[in-house]
């Protein structure tokens, strides 16, 4: 039974199981990696298979998952490993059926490993293409990554356990019958799977909408609060106004003009400037007519105030519509500002400037901030978008790479990034819909 062809069939299967996930995860396959894969992943299970049978798959799942995590630092890519196994088993079963039906029961063809190999390879090839297409289609969807993939992983694991118990329990005597049986079950299972995922997606979308509404309400409240603050400031200023004038009167009466001058420049102009800057930051938001974005900016302005980062928002012309999904727009602005706040708060001279500028056929969101430059290493633009890049260590710095992904996925977005001395400049162009 341990013929060469049989061995090569097993080797092929394990090779497929380990290489395909790497391909799906967009890891560039180098010679080094192939060597690693064949030594670490393909060889041991081939041996293991002889002793523990199909359970060797568990080993493959573990090691490939680990390797992918090590290479990409994203545990979500594990979904590719699981899907590959499901696809491979499907291909295998379908090919058994196809071969059986096409061969008119000729024993020689059915048991020939070569025929099996070729047919299952071509079926797998088709399945892989379909999967890849579907995945890249859904990957542009922003909830996919965050909600659906994590839900898929346990479901897929269950599927695999189910499939393999089925295979283990398979009756050797009536091989083709049980294969038929299996395929039948798999199809039912797959349908159930899709229904569950669909239901889940529905729930998630609903949940997100509720959360979004809550967020909007919260942000709107903070906007109202800050308006009240400004109102209070105004009242205070009006009250102070009289005091200031009377205090000046003292200098004028005594004709002490030089002291009046210093008093005027030192005290009066200074306080006025401070208050105006504070007011301006919020009053600029008047020209913005996208409620949720206004809320977001208010939150960030308040956040900047507590971090003692002067933040200026420039919206000179009315912005009532930006041709982008509102949630996506808010997310992108949030990333830009979070990043700016994070980078600028440690700078020697922290400040942030954000502008919404309407130009011909395009809205430009420009965000400029200072950052603390590291003497030993000059920061480069290309390092920033690397996943997991952050000046703050792990689990952060995902923001900018998400931003980049979102821009890449949309034909009407463009993002320019520039580092100029200790200034970090991002320009996000959003094309208006062409009529």
């Amino acid at each position: 039974m341990w013929s060469i062809s049989y061995l090569s069939l097993i080797t092929y299967q394990f090779l497929v199981l380990s290489i395909l996930p790497l391909y799906f995860s967009k890891i560039t396959i180098t010679k080094n990696l192939v060597l690693k894969v064949s030594l670490l992943i393909v060889a041991p299970p081939v041996v293991l298979f002889a002793f523990i049978g199909v359970y060797a798959v568990a080993y493959v799942i573990l090691v490939v998952s680990f390797l992918i995590y090590q290479q990409t630092k994203r545990w979500r890519n594990i979904v590719h490993v699981l899907f590959t196994i499901v696809l491979a088993v499907m291909a295998d079963h379908i090919s058994s059926l196809v071969v059986y039906h096409l061969s008119n029961g000729m024993e020689a063809i059915i048991t020939s490993p070569l025929v099996q190999l070729v047919v299952s390879m071509s079926i797998l090839f088709i399945l892989v293409i379909v999967y890849k297409r579907l995945f890249s289609y859904f990957a542009g969807w922003y909830m996919f990554e965050q909600y659906i993939i994590p839900a898929m992983i346990p479901l897929l694991l269950m599927t695999i356990v189910f499939m393999y118990t089925d295979i283990v329990l398979m009756d050797d005597l009536s091989f083709i019958k049980s294969v038929q049986h299996n395929v039948f079950f798999f199809v039912i299972y797959l349908m159930l799977f899709i229904i569950i995922i669909g239901f889940f997606v529905y729930l998630v979308i609903k949940n997100i909408h509720i959360k979004q509404k809550e967020m909007q309400l919260k942000e709107f409240n903070s906007y109202v609060e800050s308006l009240e603050d400004i109102n209070r400031d105004m009242r205070k200023f009006k009250h102070d106004y009289m005091n200031i004038l009377t205090s000046m009167r003292h200098f004028i009466d005594s004709k002490n003009y030089s002291e009046l001058e210093t008093y005027f420049y030192r005290h009066i102009l200074q306080t006025e400037e401070n208050e105006q800057a504070h007011e301006m930051a919020f009053s600029m938001l008047n020209c913005l007519h996208i409620a949720s974005l206004k809320g977001l900016l208010t939150t960030k302005l308040i956040q900047a105030q507590t971090l003692h980062v002067p933040m200026h928002v420039e919206i000179v012309e009315d912005i009532d519509r930006i041709a982008l999904d509102e949630i996506q727009l808010n997310r992108m602005c949030g990333i830009l500002l979070d990043n700016a706040l994070e980078a600028s708060k440690n700078a020697t001279e922290p400040w942030i400037r954000l502008a919404f500028i309407r130009m011909d056929g395009v809205v430009l969101i420009a965000c400029v901030n200072t950052f603390s430059s590291n003497q030993s290493h000059e920061l480069k633009v290309h390092e920033i978008f690397k996943e997991g890049f952050s000046t703050k260590g792990e689990e952060r710095g995902l923001g900018l790479s998400i931003l980049r992904q979102m821009v890449d996925a949309s034909p009407k977005l463009r993002l320019n990034t520039k580092i100029n001395g200790n200034l970090f400049i991002q320009e996000l162009f959003i094309d208006e819909e062409r009529v």
């Binding site: 560039t28 180098t30 102009l269 400037e273 105006q276 800057a277 301006m280 600029m284 200026h312 420039e314 000179v316 012309e317 400037r353 954000l354 502008a355 500028i357 130009m359 011909d360 056929g361 395009v362 430009l364 420009a366 400029v368 480069k380 633009v381 290309h382 390092e383 821009v407 890449d408 949309s410 034909p411 463009r414 993002l415 320019n416 990034t417 520039k418 580092i419 100029n420 320009e427 162009f429 094309d431």
Partner: protein
């Protein structure tokens, strides 16, 4: 160089006018104020000047931004300088939309005169340069709301986006994204070389090429891939 000043505060207007006039008289280099006004419509009615000093808040239905925008559309080369109070300062908007030369903050009266003069000198320098030099090797990048000329030696590489017709141009410390096809830049200059389906590199800025792993390293530490067939051209 013809100068126009538009400012709603007559005292300020007079102040800036005096400053420039005195300077022009002393230097005698052909700087001439052709119009001072508080009414932006007069600026538009006037044919054409080379340098504009505009107040941002004009106390008129037309703001400084709108006026600047109109002037810029009519004459892409003129110098526009904005005079503003500290609180009205919307720096980025004027930079991106009108490509303003500079800003003069009028809150600090003592510094106003000096700032007007330094800005005027810069404007004059730029005025002299117009039509004089044509940079020898540049590539022009155009996209909605964005036009820029980039010198060849600043280009590191062009990277195509896989599915959409977008290109990201990588400079030393800047990424610029625009619409286009990669092949349009293949012939842009002799030092450009397409080393991969998705990359055109500038040979001038390559640090070294790893032929084994097929990776191109640039002077700023950035990398891109080269295909097995095309890497041969990168000796």
């Amino acid at each position: 160089m013809k100068v126009i000043i538009c400012e709603d505060n007559v005292v300020q207007l007079e102040h800036i006018k005096k400053t420039i006039e005195n300077y022009a008289l002393m230097e005698g280099n052909g700087i001439e104020i052709v119009l001072t006004t508080t009414n932006p419509n007069e600026v538009i009615a006037y044919e054409k000047a080379d340098c504009y000093f505009l107040d941002i808040d004009l106390n008129h239905e037309m703001t400084g931004l709108m006026l600047g925008d109109m002037i810029r559309k009519r004459d892409p080369l003129c110098n526009i300088i904005f005079v503003t109070t500290h609180a009205e300062m919307t720096y980025l908007t004027f930079m991106y939309k009108i490509a303003a030369l500079d800003f003069i903050i009028k809150d600090h009266t003592g510094m106003l005169q000096q700032k007007v003069l330094t800005t005027l000198k810069v404007a004059y320098e730029k005025y002299l340069q117009i039509g004089q030099q044509q940079a020898p090797s540049q590539i022009q990048i155009r996209a909605n709301g964005y036009t820029r000329n980039i010198a060849i030696q600043d280009i590191y590489f062009f990277a195509a986006s896989p599915t959409l017709h977008k290109i990201i141009l990588h400079l030393e410390n800047e990424h610029i994204e625009f619409y286009g096809r990669l092949k349009d830049f293949k012939e842009a200059h002799v030092s450009m070389y397409q080393c991969h389906k998705a990359f055109i590199v500038n040979r001038q800025n390559i640090e070294f090429v790893d032929h084994k792993e097929r990776v191109v390293y640039f002077k700023n530490g950035e990398t891109c891939f080269a295909s097995a067939r095309l890497i041969k051209g990168l000796k």
